[in-house]
Subunit: 344 residues, 2 copies
């Protein structure tokens, strides 16, 4: 009988909380077990995670703001890490995990392909991970799957590839409020311009996905072109959380292009806005043979990111020590599903 993988949840925002819910829902399979929870929010510290999830039975796992203590005392195998989109200010957390002997699966978008924005951090993470015999992986639905790993895999049955175009259209009406706010739903064009000028607006990870695909294909990019524009509502849109008037910003159109020898060969095009008529993911490979892959209704982002994190746990355990990207790990697949459950 295999022992369950012992998991610590590091960061209990909306994604971290759902990650805990998912891990708990899988505990009865005997494959995975929550053994710790870390967050600095005083409103959460000291509470049983069951309390945060409104579960009737306590789990015995109490939120702590003392990461070092949890990491050293929980005897965890893997840390599910969801504290930030950015590596710069946070990567010490990952090093702490590795030094405690824990593999790390993180939703940090900049970690999904860190070699461009943060080469020295990537080098340090890789060295520390190797030194402590653990793996560190950044993943999620996007970056980590929809616009990179899946795109690469679509080219895997082509003898020649001329161009790759990846599209993702997300109807933000069906997503949680923080995401609607993240894409600027309901703000004015002028406010959009102001947000854009901060350089911290738009989808995080598009550049990482582009560079991962280019790297995977062995295409040295001569230049990269990124654009971020508002999608304006062409009619009033009501969502459970907010309403957007006609002419206001409904969301973002974020696009990035990769050029080889001065010609564009790689396009990642992302639209996330409230009121999108059709959500979908697609990968189009102009190659031999051509490939047109489409996921109807799109991949539901919040759930999918949590799934990608939890499903990567066994891949992290079996990977060789070091920093990895999803292009270097086996294709992610569902983990610890149990079929005797009554289907809801």
């Amino acid at each position: 009988m295999q022992k369950p993988v012992r998991v610590v949840q590091y960061g209990i925002g909306p994604i971290g909380l759902e990650s805990i819910r998912t891990v708990l829902s899988k505990e009865h399979t005997g494959r995975i077990k929550l053994v710790g929870a870390i967050d600095i929010d005083p409103a959460k510290v000291g509470r049983d995670v069951a309390d945060l999830l409104h579960l009737s039975e306590p789990t015995g796992v109490v939120v702590s703001d003392d990461a070092a203590k949890v990491l050293s005392e929980s005897n965890a195998d893997v840390v599910l890490h969801t504290t930030s989109s950015f590596l710069g200010s946070m990567y010490r957390q990952l090093i702490d995990c590795a030094e405690a002997g824990c593999h790390v699966v993180s939703s940090t978008e900049e970690l999904s392909y860190p070699y461009d924005r943060h080469p020295s951090i990537a080098e340090e993470l890789d060295a520390v991970a190797r030194q402590h015999g653990v793996s560190i992986i950044g993943t999620g639905v996007n970056p980590g799957y929809a616009m990179d790993a899946l795109a690469l895999m679509a080219t895997g049955v082509c003898t020649q590839v001329h161009n790759v175009t990846v599209e993702r259209v997300v109807d933000a009406s069906k997503r949680r409020l923080p995401l609607q706010q993240k894409v600027g739903a309901g703000i004015t064009e002028a406010e959009f311009a102001q947000k854009k000028a901060t350089g911290k607006f738009g989808h995080i990870g598009l550049r990482e996905s582009l560079l991962m695909v280019a790297d995977g294909l062995g295409w040295p990019l001569s230049s990269v072109e990124e654009s971020l524009e508002p999608v304006l509502a062409d009619e009033k849109v009501d969502t459970p959380y907010l309403s957007v008037e006609k002419g206001q910003v409904a969301g973002i159109h974020h696009s990035i292009k990769g050029y080889v020898n001065g010609t564009c060969h790689l396009i990642l095009d992302l639209k996330m806005y409230v009121g999108a008529k059709e959500s979908f993911d697609s990968v189009t490979v102009d190659g031999v043979p051509p490939m047109k892959m489409k996921i109807a209704d799109g991949i539901f982002g919040d759930t999918a990111t949590i799934a990608a994190l939890v499903n990567t746990v066994p891949l992290a355990l079996s990977a060789k020590p070091g920093l990895h990207t999803v292009k270097d790990l086996p294709p992610v697949r569902a983990f610890a599903t149990k079929l005797s459950e009554v289907k809801s």
Copy 2:
């Protein structure tokens, strides 16, 4: 500057010949180089492979029927192996390659997931591969991609999976004559029944794909149900190679179901026949979130199998020694594409 991967082609039937063509077409990238060719056909032995491909310039690679000599003298890194669909009578060829220190990427359908039909051969191949520090991998478009690796990857963003249904519909009108004959195009229902009774008819690898997906999901199958029926032409079908009259066999409908605890949770459904109105590949995951992935027009099998083989070369080189299946290797992606080429 990286040295090109040195490749031997072992088996020069229709697939092997196109594999050679593909390797040669990639030589200018400096990533791969053909250094040997093995076949027992007297009509091919002694001829430059350029001659077989009707190329104007000789390559210097001459077909030999002396596998041991080619393997020992070519200093090859990887053998592309395409001699048989079946392991039983042939696996010594793979052992010879491994003992010569060559990684093996093979189109042998039974090798794609050999643990069920050939557990002792699988064990021996794994042991020999480890002993000689090489990897052995069976792949192709199906098995190896469309109905297994891609299906697994579709579940990777699901927190829960209830059922997985994989469909592949191939319009055999657009495929080569051997494939049309393989699916029985133009024979009678009675002839189909006779062929079926031999146990050597139908698509090879469906059971392997099913077991790979079940294994990848950690689903212990309680039983497997397989069916093979003719698709009858509902009108006359003309192809460049043959014609099928109304009422004759147009091709096969080959289906396999995997049961867990007595309930069917996994369906692989394959139709290959001349006159199919729509070719496609699809993976439908009844899970959380649900996933509906579809490849319009389907993956063109002959080219895709060759692509899968050649694209797996770098994955074989970087895999740890041993016998692997595609579920344990990174997602396959196009290898040695060069973008400066004029698009045809």
